[in-house]
C-alpha cells in the first residue's frame, strides 16, 4: 500500500461512517432537526472556517457532506492527500456534532469533547503571547503508561498545552496523573474523531485572533501554519483513519511524529518536516519541538546565587576569592561557535576537567569555554556579538567577576558564591540561559562545554580559539564599504536627538563607538522593527564623498524629513550629523590646513580654540555643521576617514592618550595609503601645542603632509 492508498481508504472509511450516521439521524429525526455545538458562535467551526457556510440542521449537514465529497479527489498527488485529510477532519466534525443532538452531554470527566468559545479566548491570549509556546496533540497509546505520562509531563513542564485523544487518556488515568484545563492537559475523547475538537480550537483561533474571514480556506491554513504552533504525536500502530486524520493535520501545518516504524516503512511515507518517524518515544518532545520550530522561553537561570545587573560592578578581592582563571598568566579563552543544528544537543552543559572544588583555594587556573549555537537565522557574523555579551552575563552573577575578552579573560569566583554551591556547570547555565533568551530570534539550540585541564586549554587555545579569532579579524579587515551590499541606520539616540540618523558602514562605525556594522546587522536580525534598519546603496550620486540616493532617502525617512542628504566620507560637504554621544569630535584647523580630533575624556584646550564640550555644543543635536564631525575612536584609522578631503593625512593634532590608543592602527593605515612610517609622530598633541601657531611650527618641523595639500576650503 502506498501513502495515497492508506489516506484515501482511511478517508473513505470515515466518509462512509459519516454518511450512514447522518442518514440514520435524518431517518430518526427528520431534516429540520437542529444541530449545534454548545457555547460557540461559529456553528461547526471547522466546516464554517473552511467554507464560510453555517450548518444549523441535519438537512444542511447532509448538503455539507456533499461539499466534503468534492474535496475527496483521487489523483495521486500530494495535494489530494492533504485535501482528503481535510475531508476526513470535516467528517469527524460531523460525527461529533451528531453526538451533541438534543443538548446531549456526550463526554464525561475526564474528557472534555467540544471546547467553548470562552476557553479559546482565554487560551488564545497566552498562545498569541507565546506564554503557551505550543499545542501538543497526543493520540493513541504509548508503549507503556509510564512513557505516556512522561511524555505528557515533559510538555507540561515547558508550558505547552497538551490535548489527549484515545488510549493515552486511560494511560494517564491508570497512573493517577492529574489532567484538566487548569493544568493545561486536556483529554478530549476516546474516539479518534474527537481530535477534531482541538482542530476546532485552532480554526476558531484563526477566526478570532487572525481576523480570518470564514470561507478563506487558504488564509485559514496559512494562519494555522504560521501562528498556531500545534503538532501531533501519533503513538502506537497507525491505521488508515489515523493516517488520514494526520494528513489533515499536515494540511493545517501541524507536523505529525509517529513511532510506528513498520507502517511508515511499509507505505514508504515521505513528507519532509511534516511526517517524522521517531521510534524512541522519549525523544518525541525534542523531535516535535524542532519540527514545529517551537522555542521554550527561559525565565529562570538555574544557579544557586542571584543573577542581576546590580552585581555587575562587583569587585572580588584576592582574599575573598575561591579561585581565579587568568588568561594573562595561563591559557584561557571564551568562544562562540556556530554549528549545524544536528551537531548540537540543546542545553547540554559539559565540564571536562576538574571542577572548582578540586582546585586549591585561591589558586590560578586555566579555563576555556566554548558556546556552540545553531539556528536557522544564525550567521557566523553574530559570534563576536554574542561573545562580547559574556562579560556582562558573567558579571551579573553574584560573587563572580569577569574582565577582558577572547583569550585575555580573567574570572574570579568568590568564596561565598562557591560555598553557596556554585560550580562550573552553573557558569554554563548562565551562558546558556542568557544566549537562548537574549538571542532567541536567531539561536534555536545551544550547548556549552567547559574545559579546565591546563594542557587541554593550551591545545584548544592554539588549535581552535586563536585560528577562530584570526579568521574573524581577517573578516573585519576585509570588510569594506565596497564589499557589502547594504548599510544600516541607527536611530537609537533619537529620543534626545530627534533628527539624527547614523549611517553605519563597515568602515564607519556609529559615532558612539558602540555600534559597528556587524552589531547593527545583528540588531536588525534580532529586532526587525528596532533602531537598525537596512539601507541599500545601489544608487551612487558621488563616489568621492560617498553620497547615495538610497542613503539620502533613508536619512530623510528616519529623520522625519529633517535631513535631506548626507555624505559618508566628507567633513565639509553634507557631513553626517551627530546626536551627542560621539566618542570624538574632529574639526578643521585652518592655519595648518588640517583637522584636530578631541576625545570625550580630554579636558584641555585644542588648537581650534575650543574644548571638547565647546566643540560638542557645535557638533551635536542632529544638525549638519560643515567642518565638524562626531565619530567613534575606531573610525580614526579607517581608510574612509574624511576620504573626500584627503583622508587621515589631514590629522594634525589629537590628545596624547587618544594617540596612544589609535597609534598602531593609524600608523598601519598611513603606511598602506601614503607609505608614511610612524605617522603618529608627526601629529601634535597637548604636550606640543594647544594653540595653532605653535602647532604649525611643530608640523613644519615634522614636515607634516597636510601642509602641502590642497586647501580644504
Amino acid at each position: 500500500m502506498t501513502l495515497f492508498d492508506v489516506v484515501f481508504s482511511g478517508n473513505d472509511t470515515v466518509y462512509g461512517l459519516t454518511e450512514n450516521a447522518i442518514n440514520d439521524a435524518i431517518a430518526q429525526y427528520g431534516e429540520d432537526k437542529a444541530i449545534a455545538f454548545p457555547d460557540t458562535a461559529y456553528s461547526l467551526p471547522c466546516y464554517y472556517g473552511v467554507t464560510g457556510t453555517k450548518v444549523g440542521n441535519l438537512g444542511e449537514l447532509k448538503a455539507a457532506l456533499g461539499v466534503v465529497k468534492t474535496l475527496m479527489t483521487r489523483e495521486k498527488r500530494l495535494n489530494d492527500v492533504f485535501m482528503s485529510g481535510v475531508a476526513t477532519a470535516l467528517c469527524a466534525e460531523f460525527i461529533e456534532v451528531l453526538k451533541y443532538m438534543d443538548g446531549a452531554a456526550p463526554y464525561e470527566a475526564p474528557c472534555y469533547g467540544h471546547l467553548g468559545d470562552a476557553i479559546i479566548r482565554e487560551l488564545g491570549v497566552p498562545l498569541v503571547t507565546g506564554d503557551i509556546p505550543g499545542v501538543a496533540v497526543i493520540l493513541g497509546a504509548a508503549p507503556t503508561p509510564e512513557e505516556g505520562v512522561a511524555l505528557v509531563k515533559s510538555y507540561q513542564a515547558q508550558g505547552i498545552l497538551v490535548t489527549l485523544v484515545g488510549d493515552i487518556i486511560d494511560q494517564c488515568a491508570q497512573m493517577g496523573y492529574k489532567t484538566g484545563a487548569n493544568v493545561r492537559v486536556i483529554p478530549l475523547g476516546k474516539d479518534v474523531t474527537s481530535v477534531i475538537h482541538v482542530v476546532s480550537v485552532a480554526v476558531r483561533a484563526a477566526l478570532i485572533f487572525g481576523n480570518i474571514k470564514p470561507g478563506d480556506a487558504a488564509g485559514l491554513m496559512e494562519y494555522t501554519f504560521k501562528r498556531v504552533p500545534a503538532f501531533v504525536n501519533a503513538l502506537g500502530k497507525l491505521n488508515p483513519v489515523v493516517v488520514a486524520c494526520g494528513a489533515g493535520a499536515i494540511a493545517l501545518g501541524f507536523p505529525v511524529v509517529t513511532n510506528d516504524v513498520e507502517t511508515a516503512a511499509a507505505v514508504n511515507i515521505k513528507v519532509p518536516k511534516s511526517l517524522i518517524v521517531q521510534p524512541d518515544v522519549e525523544k518525541f518532545n525534542a523531535t516535535s519541538l524542532e519540527a514545529r520550530d517551537i522555542k521554550i522561553k527561559i525565565t529562570k537561570i538555574d544557579i544557586p546565587v542571584a543573577f542581576a545587573s546590580a552585581f555587575e560592578g562587583e569587585i572580588i578581592r584576592r582574599g575573598d576569592m575561591q579561585i581565579e582563571f587568568d588568561g594573562s598568566r595561563v591559557d584561557c579563552f571564551e568562544l562562540v561557535h556556530m554549528k549545524e543544528a544536528t551537531e548540537i544537543e540543546d542545553h547540554k552543559i559539559e565540564v571536562i576537567g576538574p571542577d572548582i572544588d578540586e582546585f586549591p583555594v585561591g589558586s590560578k587556573q586555566s579555563i576555556a569555554y566554548i558556546v556552540e549555537v545553531a539556528g536557522k537565522s544564525m550567521q557566523s557574523d553574530f559570534e563576536p556579538v554574542f561573545e562580547r555579551k559574556f562579560h556582562s552575563y558573567l558579571n551579573c552573577v553574584e560573587g563572580m567577576m569577569h574582565t577582558g575578552q577572547r583569550d585575555m579573560i580573567r574570572i574570579r569566583v568568590s568564596k561565598d558564591t562557591f560555598n553557596a554551591g556554585f560550580r562550573l556547570k552553573h557558569l554554563g547555565e548562565v551562558l546558556y540561559a542568557r544566549v537562548k533568551s537574549e538571542f532567541a530570534a536567531v539561536v534555536d539550540k545551544c550547548q556549552v562545554t567547559i574545559y579546565t585541564n591546563a594542557e587541554e586549554c593550551t591545545k584548544l587555545r592554539h588549535e581552535v580559539a586563536i585560528p577562530a579569532f584570526d579568521k574573524r579579524d581577517e573578516r573585519l579587515n576585509t570588510l569594506t564599504d565596497e564589499s557589502v551590499d547594504v548599510y544600516y541606520s541607527c536611530i537609537m539616540c533619537q529620543a534626545f536627538s530627534p533628527s539624527h540618523v547614523c549611517v553605519v558602514t563597515p568602515e564607519r562605525l556609529g559615532l558612539c563607538g558602540a555600534v559597528s556594522w556587524l552589531d547593527a546587522k545583528a540588531t536588525n536580525e534580532l529586532d526587525p522593527q528596532g533602531p537598525c534598519q537596512i539601507i541599500t546603496k545601489e544608487k551612487v550620486i558621488d563616489e568621492r564623498i560617498g553620497e547615495y540616493e538610497d542613503v539620502n532617502e533613508a536619512v530623510r525617512k528616519f529623520s522625519q524629513g529633517a535631513l535631506d542628504d548626507v555624505s559618508l566620507y566628507s567633513i565639509i560637504e553634507k557631513p553626517m550629523t551627530s546626536c551627542g554621544c560621539f566618542e570624538c569630535i574632529c574639526g578643521i584647523e585652518p592655519l595648518s590646513n588640517g583637522v584636530c580630533i578631541a576625545n570625550r575624556e580630554y579636558a584641555g584646550m585644542t588648537p581650534i580654540g575650543m574644548t571638547f564640550p565647546e566643540l560638542a555644543s557645535m557638533t551635536g543635536g542632529g544638525v549638519q555643521t560643515p567642518g565638524f564631525m562626531g565619530h567613534g575612536k575606531h573610525f580614526i584609522a579607517s581608510k574612509k576617514f574624511m576620504k573626500a578631503e584627503g583622508g587621515i593625512e589631514r590629522i594634525v593634532w589629537m590628545p596624547k592618550d587618544l594617540k596612544e590608543q589609535v597609534k598602531d592602527r593609524l600608523n598601519a593605515t598611513a603606511k598602506e595609503l601614503y607609505g608614511i612610517d610612524n605617522f603618529t609622530d608627526m601629529i601634535g598633541d597637548e604636550t606640543v601645542a594647544e594653540d595653532p601657531e605653535t602647532l604649525l611650527a611643530f608640523l613644519q618641523e615634522k614636515n607634516h603632509p597636510a601642509l602641502s595639500m590642497e586647501p580644504m576650503m
Binding site: 479566548r121 488564545g124 497566552p126 506564554d131 478570532i208 530627534p498 528596532g530 524629513g561
Partner: protein, 313 residues
C-alpha cells in the same frame, strides 16, 4: 500683490476611532489638519475630555476634589457623579490599587469593581492600569474580557506587555487598544507596528505617547507630539496616524505644585486654584500639540478645557 492664503490641509488624516457604544459613543481623531487649524479645514471631531476616578475612591482624591463628590459612598457612586459633570465625554477608571509595590489589590477584586462601575454608567470607558507591566498584563487582559461589548479604551499596552494586552483587548475582545510609549516617536511607531503585526487592527489603536506635567521636561512631550503629527499628516505615515489620548491627571496630581498645601507653601497661594491651573495648562498644551483626547481629574479643569475646545473648534 494680494496675499492668497494657502490651505494647510493634508491628504492624509488621523484615524477616526469610535469609543463606546450607543448614544454616548464618541469619535476620536479623524482630522486632516494640524491641531485646531480650523482655518485650514474643518476639524472632523473635536478633541474629547475624559474624567478620571480610581479604585481607591474618595480616599484617593485630593481634598480639593473630594467636595465635588460629596455624598458618594462608593467608587460606583463617584462614577455616576463624575459622568454628570459638565463637559465630560468619557469616564476613565485607573486601577492603581493593583500595583504590587502599593496596595497590591487582587485582579479579581479590581475587575469586580470595574464591572460595577461599567454597569452604572453608559458613557464610553477607558481603563487605565497600575503602571506595573506584569500586573497590567493580567489586569487589562481581564478588564478587556469584563468589558466585552463596551468598545472601551484599554490603557495601555507597552513594549513589555503588548502581546498579552494586544491579543486580549485587540483580538479576543475587540476593545480599543491603547499603545503607550515613553516620549519617543520611534518607540511609539515601533509599538504600533508590533501591535499591527500581532494582528490588531490599526484602526482600533489609540496612542499614549507619554506626557509630563507642564514644566517637567515638557518640551520633550511637545516635540514628540509635534513630530508624530507631522509624520502622520505630512509624510502620510500610517503607523503614526493613530489618535493620541493623553492621561494628564495622573501626572499633574502627583507633582508638588499641584498638591502641596497652602500651609506648607504660603507663597504659592491657594492649593485648589494651583492644582486646577496646572491641570488646565498641561491639558491645553498637549491638546495644541496634537492630543485628540485628554483625561483629567478636577471637574473645574474638565469644564474649562471642554469650553476651550468648544471655542476653538
Amino acid at each position: 500683490m494680494p496675499f492668497t492664503a494657502k490651505s494647510g490641509k493634508f491628504n492624509a488624516k488621523i484615524n477616526a476611532v469610535e469609543v463606546g457604544t450607543g448614544d454616548k459613543k464618541i469619535t476620536i481623531g479623524g482630522e486632516n489638519v494640524l491641531p485646531f487649524y480650523t482655518f485650514d479645514d474643518a476639524i472632523a471631531n473635536a478633541p474629547k475630555v475624559g474624567i478620571e476616578i480610581t479604585d481607591g475612591g474618595l480616599d484617593n482624591e485630593p481634598d480639593c476634589i473630594k467636595k465635588y463628590y460629596e455624598g458618594c459612598t462608593s467608587v460606583v457612586d463617584m462614577a455616576k457623579k463624575a459622568a454628570s459633570f459638565e463637559g465630560v465625554d468619557f469616564l476613565s477608571i485607573r486601577l492603581e490599587g493593583g500595583d504590587p509595590n502599593g496596595q497590591n489589590k487582587s485582579t479579581e477584586e479590581l475587575i469586580a469593581l470595574l464591572k460595577e462601575v461599567a454597569e452604572a454608567v453608559d458613557l464610553p470607558l477607558a481603563v487605565c492600569g497600575c503602571k506595573n507591566v506584569e500586573k497590567d498584563a493580567e489586569l487589562l487582559d481581564k478588564a478587556s474580557q469584563a468589558l466585552e461589548g463596551r468598545n472601551a479604551m484599554i490603557m495601555a499596552a507597552k513594549e513589555d506587555n503588548y502581546k498579552t494586552i494586544g491579543a486580549s483587548a485587540g483580538l479576543a475582545y475587540k476593545q480599543i487598544v491603547g499603545a503607550e510609549s515613553a516620549v519617543d516617536i520611534n518607540l511609539a511607531k515601533q509599538l504600533n507596528v508590533l501591535l499591527t503585526q500581532l494582528g490588531v487592527n490599526g484602526q482600533s489603536v489609540v496612542m499614549n505617547v507619554g506626557t509630563a506635567t507642564a514644566g517637567y521636561g515638557f518640551e520633550y512631550v511637545v516635540s514628540t507630539m509635534d513630530r508624530v503629527k507631522a509624520a502622520a499628516l505630512s509624510q502620510s505615515d500610517a503607523t503614526l496616524q493613530m489618535p493620541i489620548v493623553t492621561p494628564v491627571a495622573s501626572e499633574v496630581w502627583a507633582v508638588k505644585e499641584s498638591v502641596a498645601s497652602e500651609a506648607d507653601m504660603p507663597e504659592w497661594g491657594d492649593q485648589e486654584e494651583r492644582g486646577i491651573d496646572m491641570e488646565i495648562e498641561t491639558a491645553a498644551a498637549v491638546l495644541v500639540s496634537g492630543s485628540n483626547a485628554v483625561i483629567l481629574r478636577h471637574p473645574e479643569s474638565v469644564k474649562a478645557i471642554s469650553k476651550m475646545i468648544k471655542e476653538l473648534v
